[in-house]
Symmetry: D2
Subunit: 407 residues, 4 copies
């Protein structure tokens, strides 16, 4: 795996954990991939959790590699965004690593929400088990009927009836909803229809076993169901919860969701960079060993260009993402919003290109399930849409640039 | 300086059938997609043929839309490549259409091989049932262990033992091998190890029920198994067939396979163009109706650029492919090899780009199984590898260009 | 679904003249380049016409290669757009060829305007000398102060004062205005300020020696002044001409200018294709002979890719442009407007890319005046702006596509 | 102008000088452009130095902005590469700034050579006047007849005859040779024809007034002669110099030239970044104020995408170049060679794209001499060739990547 970049002022503790995490992933997590996949490939076991995952989690805790993402030292590792970013990159090398270290989305964002905005009871009941890795959770925002890139379009209704909220609406691409351990949803919906458009939404915690919560089907991303975590279409049909389940305050849904996005985008982008590094390593490995027309692919000019451009693009994406992480640390998610928009434009499409080149060099193997590449591709492609499509970020970035005074 | 371009003209019969086929697809085939998919989605029915397919096939025969691809009028419609090309494009709009019209790969190529190179007995026993759509077939060339883009790498052995051939080797991405109706394989293997590298291979017809033929597993293309036709990994383990099952003559495998490729590439590219047209239509439909940030997507500049560029690229790919079809008609696959290489470079990556743009405009729907786009994407992507990766064609084309005399 | 493409056929006469023109260019025009350039490189001769040009013109007339662009057989060769297109491509190989054959812009467009819209007296006085190649002319539309891509922005005023028009305004990029033979300008200006925005402009013929016409300076395109024809900034300062100099009728300026654009864009695009062919030939020639790191460039993969992609892009641009030419012949410039927009999007940027690759392969020679490549580059680049920037055409094309009914 | 990036550990002195340099450029250098250009536009003054330049140089010295590039504190500012890089970026905003601060190529590289490899006498006679800005110099490596990207191809001969060297060969693109103040050339040639290929060349200092040194002509880069500095073709025809003029030792030419390249590439890339910033600012300024089709360009989606992508690409290129600067400081040019290759691949083509977009948004103005854009474009384009074409760097980078052990 790649070394820690020497440019930035990482803390000594982050450097030490980076080395430990690299060892853990290489020695335990990557070797566990086959057993994990074999478990869910068994008939009837697709939506169950392979026992190896608990082994990995225990090992991670023991090695001190647990809740690394959480900046609040009362609850987690207490790293700033810059320190955590290279750890997230390492976890991007292997799809089991984030969960093994209790650092996988959307639980990470949900834990952050509960740390920042949850009251003591909510933290006791839902945050602590999440932090221990005992339960999983989901974040229910995107809806099939409206362009959710514009969050003010959301149509799910949250109505107060006595001392309860009644929730009605259709959500989809709810990651983790099909996980058997999923204990609750954070549901975004309109509770204050008469407020201005950024203060209509609230966020309500809905336990999975609430009557009226129906997980309709697992969705497939490019043919992958991503079991056992999965992404689901979910109907909330007059599901009711006590008013105590409101997160923060009424009308704050948009604000809370936005705050969740800044660090989350750093995590996503760094994991994509890790994934792209693995794709590039696979590309080189293949190029060195595969012979066509009498020469290894590695000696062919177009293959070399693919490799060189991938290295350039990965390194540029990393520098940009690290500088966004540092900017959040220095100026908050709002102050860093241009840089956060930039990494969302850059990292997913970089990963898409690098993986596409790796596929090309792998030939028929590259489009098959014997390689991690197609699944990696699907993940990168989805992230050009999730958390705002490229076009939205390009538009916002241009507006910011145009708003600057001439110099 | 370049010569005056030669130009095209379609026959009246092709124009008439084009209109009829367009009606058939719009009225019967597209509407059958849902029923077809529902059938194979039922437990236990994934690898069975939906009855609606037989209904469509009967309708196609009745409408005179049968075996349109086959240029030999004794066996098929008798169209030249230019006349057939726009029909292939229409079939690309809907993945059921090629089979409904008995024009689907790899059966089309296999029928062409048997027409050109099969002896009377082989034609009687295998070609006629294929032409009637009663059986299906497979073409077994690609191997997992070697770069099959260089066909001379192939390792499967075909050994003569008395009056039988004994075949040993591993093949994969054998389209149709998992189809329950698949009756035989055309297997490419080395029979003359001491001949020069383009005369070592032979093609042998191996019935599916031969002892030693093992369909190991269906392969997944970007997570799609493409059931019920499928793509399989197949082991030939000392499978033996009578020497009468040799196609043409010993050592002619490379030559026969090459002849199969020219028209096959026209078909693939035209179908991709039809698929891209469907993606563009879907993109426009979505853009007209989806509202984000207060305006339909259709009014946003980046969306408009995506639409305009897609129209330009589709139309350019079509003109190039039609001119390749005309060149084959005029000069044979060998004489048209540059143009055939060019369409292989152009059409799959055009389709990949157009579908990718359509996905982007569809948002979360675009990466889900509720849209045809991801499956279309996987198909386009695979065709940048199948029948030779882009790099091989780019290299050959450059060599041809460099070989021309300065003008 | 898309309709069956309509296809093309060249006349026998066009084929014969194509061969003759190719010979003329190879035998006489290309060999004259050095003498032509040497003439204008002499001190004091930059804005004079090299005598060799008259020799070439005489030769072209004798060979029947004169006024080939003009579809009206009373005045010119009488070719349709399709027949003329490959002749324009040939002329694109060499910057002297269009003038040698009396087929160079903007005289071609001006001649077409006078044929269609000029009255008998205007034709007698201005068209016939142009057709004989005795005078040159200019077309004055673009203005420095407004976005002329939107022609309704034009600010030059044409005021009637008694029986004369008084013209006031600043124009630039007026090609040919610095040519010593330039006898008149067709000037676009606002004459009916109260009409709707497409009927405000008129076109008036202004002789070059009119008082108040000031050629302020030759402009440089990427450092090239394109002498002796040149592109000038011109001030019309209360220049007055008799009302008889109105072209067609008052308020028809937009309509007349639009009609001029369709065929003109075909000519431009075909010449760019010819120029790109020359660049590709130069690229191959260089690649075959230049040695770096022990091998000819022609054996290096990235160079090969550059060559192959150039061939693909040139051939695709040609097919598209020919089909646009045919569409104008069949349906008029209005009926063919989508295709005309498409070629304007495709051909200049194709030429820009191909020439850029050729520059790269030529190394330091490629950016110097010893090669035609930088000047070719500047020409291609300018045509991504002239006659409407890419963005305007992309937008219009998307609108047309979105306006189509779903099929 | 852009602020100093906050990421890197710049010294306080560098930060202070950055602010001072930004003021100097904004207050004095940019305002001097018009006067400078007007001077050389006068007849007979093209190859003379505008007096305003001496004014600027005096002002720069007074402000402490002199010889900033030189890391050796005995002779220059004593900055490391990281500290100097943002200063070089600032100078890239304005083509007069590097010379005004005595930081312009090729003098910078020549001064570094003389500092490192010059003996005391050479330093006294040639380095000190250069450091004072009294003379200028040239570096003569590239030859027209061979691919100079592979420096071992160089054919100029340096023969020892008694106690003198006799130099014979043709060089071109010798920047500064046409500057009237150019006092000497560092000439690279073959002195040890029998040594291995990296030890054949020597570097010899040849005074400009040596008999046999013939400046044949100024060369034009895309039509620009870049007067009064210029780029020349130069013939060395049995020019002889004393053997004391050898730089370092015989056979060390390749080594000395390589050492010169690392920091030089940082300078080039940072200046390109500054230039791209100026182009982006111009793009925004134009987009805010230019109206087309009823809206400012700034509100049009494709224009916004151009702006946003330019910002992303500039910032990524800066981060990469700064990290290369830091790597040279930490590990030397050899240790940083991958990063140096990466910035050479990235920065010039980034600048080419950004400037091309700016041209597009400026319309006809953008391709004229009234804008700095075409000249900026030519400079960026040339740097995809100078100091090694992209392909050479891509190839070397791929080789390094392939050589890494799998992780």
């Amino acid at each position: 795996m790649n070394e820690l970049p020497t440019l930035f002022a990482f803390s000594d503790r982050a450097r030490a954990l980076h080395a430990e995490l690299a060892r853990f992933i290489a020695e335990q997590v990557v070797p566990a991939e086959a057993e994990y996949d074999a478990h869910i490939a068994q008939p009837g076991q697709r939506w169950t959790i392979p026992p190896i995952m608990e082994t990995l989690k225990a090992a991670a805790r023991q090695r001190g590699l647990w809740n690394l993402f959480l900046p609040d030292p009362r609850f987690g590792a207490g790293f700033c965004n810059l320190d955590y970013a290279p750890l997230a990159e390492l976890m991007g090398h292997c799809w089991l690593a984030p969960e093994a270290c209790n650092c996988n989305a959307p639980d990470t964002g949900n834990m952050e929400v509960l740390v920042h905005y949850g009251n003591a009871e909510q933290q006791q009941r839902w945050l602590l088990p999440l932090l221990r890795g005992e339960i999983r959770s989901a974040f229910a925002m995107t809806e099939p009927a409206v362009a959710s890139s514009d969050a003010t379009n959301i149509q799910t209704r949250i109505e107060r009836v006595g001392d309860r909220f009644r929730i009605t609406g259709r959500k989809w691409w709810i990651t983790g909803a099909t996980d058997p351990r999923c204990a609750f949803f954070l549901v975004m919906g309109v509770s204050e229809p008469d407020a201005d458009r950024h203060h209509r939404q609230s966020l309500v915690l809905v336990p999975s076993d609430t009557v009226g919560v129906k997980v309709l089907r697992p969705l497939q991303l490019f043919g992958f169901d991503d079991a056992p975590q999965g992404h689901a279409e979910v109907q909330f049909e007059q599901a009711t919860v006590p008013v105590e389940n409101l997160i923060y305050r009424a009308g704050s849904g948009f604000e809370v969701a936005q705050g969740r996005l800044g660090p989350g985008r750093i995590h996503h982008c760094m994991r994509l960079i890790g994934m792209a590094e693995r794709a590039l390593a696979a590309m080189c490995q293949r190029a060195r060993t595969r012979i066509a027309f009498g020469r290894p692919l590695a000696e062919q000019g177009m293959v070399r260009e693919a490799i060189a451009r991938s290295r350039v693009e990965i390194d540029q994406a990393r520098l940009l993402t690290l500088s966004a992480a540092q900017a959040i640390d220095a100026a908050g998610a709002k102050g860093a919003k241009d840089l956060i928009g930039m990494i969302k434009i850059v990292a997913p499409s970089m990963a898409q290109r690098v993986v596409d080149r790796a596929i090309q060099i792998h030939g028929a193997l590259g489009v098959s399930e014997d390689s991690f590449l197609t699944r990696a591709y699907a993940g990168a492609r989805a992230l050009r849409l999730a958390d705002g499509p490229d076009e939205v970020h390009l538009n916002a970035l241009a507006k910011a640039e145009l708003g600057r005074q001439p110099k």
